[in-house]
């Protein structure tokens, strides 16, 4: 197994028919890190993984493992493991054979292959289905085979492309824990693509947020969650309320009401800005608040997600454990440290 200290992506670019699917990605991955790639559908996450794996030739840029250049090496010589977004299981091999394939390729001893394969299959709860062919499995089961196949070889770098998207909540939680545990116990380095922010926030050491092929922000989960670098990141990270306004000294004028918030980036007075706040950060009640009318209510278990509208017609998303009904009028307030103000 080729281990490494750092893996450096240097302006990695990939074009399809002239359009940039990934443009100038610079990233340094340290050994043992858990990196999550995050971004809207079609932003280039899978492309980035494929470039890293060597499955797509780069249009530009280079990849370095410590001192040696990696991007001209064929994928099988890089020693990485990968969970494909579309699984790409071997249709003619049983679950067991799929999982043990990588070990066979690495010439591991037979007994060891057996042991590790069994273990990996147990890890993903497919003991009963070990003899089935992929075509005989349910979607989630197939996805788990893909996970087992990638981790069983304990690669120096494991690339996972939305590995849990087809699993139910309970299993997903469990798999998350297992993946983290493997990552830690085996000292793997992981690059993890997910569309699930919670997953990214809870698992990763660092997040890379992409949009339309370009990096928007790189940082720890807390940084990214609390301080999105721009309004797009904010939008993507659950700041569902994006209120256009005009910056005033320390506050924002939205329509004809004034709220105070925390500016992010260069915001000068008089600039058009966007004030962003998450639904769950909007505080209900409180006299000083802005009055809104509840329009749509969605039941989310313990909580309620509501869509409301201010008197001047601005829509507002709320999240609360209070019972609301459409037509209710409530007053809302925005905690200034939670209301971020971005240049528009």
């Amino acid at each position: 197994m080729t281990t490494f200290e750092t893996l450096r992506l240097d302006g990695v670019t990939r074009r399809f028919a002239g359009a940039d699917a990934l443009a100038g990605l610079d990233l340094e991955i340290r050994r043992g890190e858990f990196i999550a790639l995050l971004g809207p559908s079609g932003c280039g996450k899978s492309t980035a993984l494929n470039c890293l794996a060597g499955l797509l030739p780069l249009s530009d840029g280079s990849i370095w493992r410590d001192g040696t250049r990696l991007d001209t090496l064929p994928p099988e010589r890089r020693g990485f493991g990968m969970v494909f977004q579309n699984y790409a299981l071997f249709p003619h091999m049983s679950v067991r054979k799929n999982v043990s394939f990588g070990l066979k390729m690495r010439g591991v001893a037979r007994a060891e292959i057996r042991r590790r394969t069994d273990e990996a299959i147990r890890l993903v709860h497919l003991e009963e289905h070990a003899a089935k062919l992929p075509g005989q499995l349910s979607g989630g089961q197939q996805q788990r085979v893909a996970i087992a196949r990638a981790v069983v070889v304990e690669p120096s770098l494991v690339l996972m492309d939305e590995p849990l998207s087809n699993l139910d909540a309970k299993l997903r939680l469990e798999m998350r824990t297992e993946i983290r545990r493997l990552h830690q116990n085996l000292g793997l380095t992981t690059v993890y693509v997910t569309h699930d922010q919670e997953e990214a926030l809870s698992m990763a050491d660092r997040l890379v947020v992409l949009r339309a092929g370009r990096v928007q922000q790189i940082g720890t989960p807390e940084e990214v969650h609390n301080r999105p670098a721009n309004r797009h990141v904010a939008d993507f990270l659950g700041f569902r309320n994006l209120l256009p306004g005009i910056a005033g000294g320390g506050s924002v004028k939205i329509n004809n009401w004034q709220v105070s918030g925390t500016p992010v980036g260069a915001v000068a007075e008089g600039d058009p800005v966007v004030a962003a706040i998450r639904p769950e950060d909007v505080v209900l009640g409180g006299g000083s608040g802005i009055e809104v009318t509840v329009e749509v209510v969605e039941y989310h278990g313990r909580e309620i997600a509501a869509e409301a509208r201010t008197v001047d017609g601005l829509p507002l998303h709320l999240r609360t454990s209070e019972r609301l009904a459409p037509g209710d009028k409530v007053a809302v307030a925005f905690p200034p440290e939670r209301l971020l103000v971005f240049p528009a």
Binding site: L58, S59, R69, T72, N86, Y87, L89, P134, G139, Q142
Partner: protein, 295 residues
């Protein structure tokens, strides 16, 4: 490895040139060594007739209607036969793509005729369809006709022999190509309201088309080079005087190798023309994975 060579490699890889192309080497070496050289020699021979200039053999071929017409005769046999084989193979293979009991047996039986060989086929056709063969006996017995129907030593004899040898060939290929198409696509089409006709024409057929093109090319080539059956069950001096007979006679009866090579090369050129058209059309089609998503 130095940086410039890396850069060169990079750029070559971009254009699709990388070490994987080495996989082509054995086949290429093979074809160049054992085909290209002898073939060039063959062309050279066709350009060196006993008398006349370089193109005399070709001129002779094209100026003699008896020789020239072999092209149309051959096409008139090969094109319908190849088309028929492919077109008949498709619905049968399509019917048989699912699983059912006895499929294996049925497949085997359908494929059996490729084992017959030209001689048995010819003998069989002559025996079976001949004036006193079972076929005519049955017809006469049933009073469908009172004179034996002539189905041998003419166009039909050759046509039937091409079907007997060509159909299983086409069927085997088409069935195999069909089996590579993800059945869930047809299911998806069904949920969108497509009946079997539409599913067949809009989903299966387009995905099968590249394979069909190849199958057509191969059956066409086989039919085009029909030689033994054109002689054995055909009418080798008349309606089934195909171009390979012309080449054969030049080479082996008249010992006119220039003429023979010329005829054979004309034959290859005509085939190439037809096949280029088909493969050209093929390249306009979708070729690629027939999987419809993940999993």
């Amino acid at each position: 490895m130095t940086a410039p060579t890396l850069a060169v490699r990079h750029r070559l890889a971009e254009r699709g040139i990388d070490p994987q192309l080495l996989l082509l080497v054995p086949a290429t070496v093979f074809v160049v060594a054992l085909f290209v050289y002898p073939f060039c020699y063959g062309i050279a021979v066709s350009l060196q007739p006993a008398q006349g200039g370089a193109l005399a053999a070709y001129r002779t071929f094209f100026s003699d209607a008896y020789q020239r017409d072999t092209i149309t005769t051959t096409l008139a046999i090969a094109l319908p036969a190849a088309l028929f084989n492919v077109l008949a193979a498709v619905p049968i293979a399509y019917r048989m793509r699912g699983r059912f009991r006895g499929k294996r047996l049925l497949t085997t039986v359908l494929v059996v005729p490729i084992t017959l060989g030209t001689v048995l086929t010819a003998e069989g056709l002559l025996n079976f369809l001949g004036p006193t063969g079972w076929f005519n006996r049955v017809l006469i017995f049933l009073k469908v006709t009172d004179q034996p129907v002539t189905l041998t030593h003419n166009y039909w004899g050759v046509f039937f022999s091409l079907i007997i040898t060509g159909f299983p060939f086409a069927f085997l290929l088409v069935l195999s190509y069909l089996s590579g198409i993800d059945p869930s696509l047809e299911r998806a089409a069904a949920t969108l309201g497509a009946g079997w006709v539409q599913r067949f024409f809009r989903i299966t057929l387009p995905l099968l088309a590249p394979g069909l093109a190849t199958t057509f090319c191969l059956t066409f080539v086989l039919a085009f080079s029909v030689f033994p059956s054109a002689i054995l069950v055909g009418d080798p001096s008349g309606s089934t005087r195909v171009i390979s007979i012309a080449a054969y006679e030049a080479a082996y009866v008249r010992y006119d190798y220039a003429g023979a090579s010329a005829a054979a090369i004309v034959m290859g050129a005509v085939e190439l023309l037809v096949i280029s058209v088909v493969l050209g059309l093929r390249s306009l089609l979708y070729t690629g994975s027939t999987a419809g998503g993940k999993g």
